[in-house]
Symmetry: T
Subunit: 66 residues, 12 copies
C-alpha cells in the first residue's frame, strides 16, 4: 500500500525544479518516495518578477502511516 501525500513546494527557477525540491525534502525526512503526480502549478510575483514557481504534488510513499 502507498500513502498519497499532498505537498506544495516552490522554486525561483521553474516548475521542474520545484518538483525536485519537494521530492528531495521528503526523501531527507525519511519517506520512501515512489512516484508523484502534479496537481496544480501556480506562482507568486513580487518586485517586478516571478519569484516563486509553485507546484502542488501528490506523492506516493510506502506505508500507511504518514
Amino acid at each position: 500500500m502507498f500513502r498519497m501525500l499532498e505537498v506544495t513546494q516552490s522554486s525561483p527557477l521553474g516548475f521542474s525544479e520545484a518538483v525536485r525540491e519537494a521530492v528531495d525534502e521528503l526523501l531527507r525526512a525519511g519517506e520512501k518516495v515512489h512516484f508523484f503526480v502534479v496537481q496544480e502549478q501556480r506562482g507568486a510575483v513580487r518586485d517586478g518578477a516571478v519569484k516563486e514557481f509553485q507546484v502542488v504534488l501528490k506523492v506516493a510513499v510506502e506505508g500507511q502511516s504518514g
Copy 2:
C-alpha cells in the same frame, strides 16, 4: 514546504462556521495552519431539519510530517 491535509468537519450553524471549527481543531492539535481550500459542501438532515453543515477542506500546514 506545506503539507496539504484533507479534513471534514461539521457545524449546525452553517458552512463558514464549519470551516472555523475545522481550523480551530487543527490549531489546538498544534498544527501551524496557513490557508485552506473548500473541496466539498454537504450536509445531514435528521428530525425534520438540517442538523449538520459539512465541509471537506484541504488545509496547508507547515512541515512534511503529518
Copy 3:
C-alpha cells in the same frame, strides 16, 4: 435505495440559508430527506445589491419514486 433529487433554491440572506430553505420545502412536500451535496453556488444582483444567494443541491431522499 436513495433517489438523488436536484433542486435549486435561493435566499436573500446567504448560502447556508438557501440550503435550509431547500431542505425545508422538500420536507414539507413529504420527502424523507437524508443528506445533501452542494453542486453550485450562484446569485442574482438587482437594484444595487445581492438579492438572491442561489444553491443547486443534490438531495438524497428515500425510495425510488421521485
Copy 4:
C-alpha cells in the same frame, strides 16, 4: 452580451459576506452587475484564527468592454 469578470474578494465574516463585498465593489466602480457564480472558496489563517474567507467569483456585467 455579458462580459464575465473573474474577481477574488475576502471577508473576515464568512463566504456570503465576501460575495456581497465583491459585488458592492464592482457596483461602486460603475459596473452593471447581473449575476455571479462562485468558482472557489478558500481562506487564510493567521494568529490562530481564520482571518479571511475568500471567494473567487465569475460576475456577469453588461457590455463587452471590461
Copy 5:
C-alpha cells in the same frame, strides 16, 4: 473531525477486493475507518494478463493526527 487519507492498494482479483485490502490494512494499523470514496481505478499488465487491479481511495479516519 475526520481526516481523509489517500491510499493506493492493489489486488489480483478485482477492484472490490483491492478496496477491501486497503481498508483491512488501515484497520490493522489501528486507524478507525468510517467510510471511503474511490478516486481512481487503474491496473498493471504483465506476462500476458492483468496482474494488479489498483484503486486509489480517500479514506475517512477519526482524529486529526494522521
Copy 6:
C-alpha cells in the same frame, strides 16, 4: 426521450453487485430501464470490515415522468 434518474444503492458484496441491485429495484418499481452510468463509488466501514459497497448511478428510463 429518456429521463436520467440518479440513485444510490449498496451491497455487501462489491460494486458490480450494488449496480445489479439498483437496477433490479427500479425494474421491480416498473421503470423501463435502458442503460446506466456509474457516477461515484463509495463505501462504509463498520465493525472492522467493509460493510457496504455503494454506487451512485445515473439510470436512463423511458418517458418524461419521473
Copy 7:
C-alpha cells in the same frame, strides 16, 4: 424552488434541434420549464450517416414534485 430534471433527446437534424424537441416534449407533458443546461452532446451513426444528434440536458422546472 426549481427541480432540475435530466433528460436525453435526439434529432436527425442537429444539436439545437434536439434541444428544442426535449423542451417541447416536457412542455407537452405539462412541465413549466424555465431554463436548461447542456450536459453532453453525443450521437449515433448507422448506414453510413449520422442518424441521431443526442443531447443530455438539465432542465429547470417549477415545483418540487418530479
Copy 8:
C-alpha cells in the same frame, strides 16, 4: 500575448448562431479576435418555446488590455 475574454451571448436560432453574434459584437467593438472556445451551452424557455440559445465563450483577443 492573447487576452482570453469570457462573454455570454444568446440567439433565438441556435448555438452556432449565438457564437457568431458574440464574435460579431466583439469585432464591432474593435477587438482583434483570433479564436474562441465554448465553455457552456444553456438556454431560456418562455411562452412555451425555447426563446434563447445561450453560449458562454472564451474569446482570444490581441493585446493585454481588455
Copy 9:
C-alpha cells in the same frame, strides 16, 4: 470491443455540420463508426468573421486496430 478515436474537424457552417464531416471522413476511410461524443467546441476567426466551427470528437469504431 470498440476503439475510441479522437479527431478534430471543422466546418464554416456550424458545430453540427463539423460533426457530420468528421464522421463522413472516417466512413470514407473505411472505419465502421458506431457513435461519437463531443469533447470540445472551438473556432477560428479571420477577416472579421467566424471561419471555422471546430469540434473535437471521440468516435467509437469497430475493432482494436486503429
Copy 10:
C-alpha cells in the same frame, strides 16, 4: 514512449471482468500492454436484467504506431 489507446469492452459478469476481456483482446492482437486506467463505467439493461457491464479504458501500449 507509450501510446494510450482508448477502448470500450463489456462483460455480463462485472466491471473487473470487462477490464480483463479488454486487455486480453488487445494482447491477442499483439499489443504489448503495460497498464490501464478506467475512464468510465456504464452498462446496458435488457429483458429485466443487467446484460452488460461496460468499461471505457485507457490502455498504455508500447510504441508510437497504433
Copy 11:
C-alpha cells in the same frame, strides 16, 4: 479585490519561460501582478520541432478595472 485576467503566452524555450514572459508583459503594461495559476499547457510544432511552448494563465492583478 483582485481581478483574475486570463492570458496566453508562448516561448520557444519551455513552459516556465512562457510563464515569465506573460508576467513580464503584464508588468510592462502597468498591471500590479500578485500571483498566477497555470490553466493549460499546449504547444505548436513546425518544421520538425517544437516551436512554441504555450501557457494559459490566470493572473491576479490589483483593482477591479481590467
Copy 12:
C-alpha cells in the same frame, strides 16, 4: 481532419524536455505533428532522486489513420 494521439514520454531533465522528446519520436516515425496539449505531469523517483519527468500528451497529427 486531425487525429489526436495520446502518448506518454519521460525525460530525466524536466517536463519541457519530455514534451520535446515525445514530439521528436512522433516526427521520426513519420507523423505530421501540428500541436499538442499536456494532459498530465507525473514522475518516478528511484535511488533518492527524480529519475523521470513524465508527460501525458494529446498530439494532433494529420490524417485519419493512426
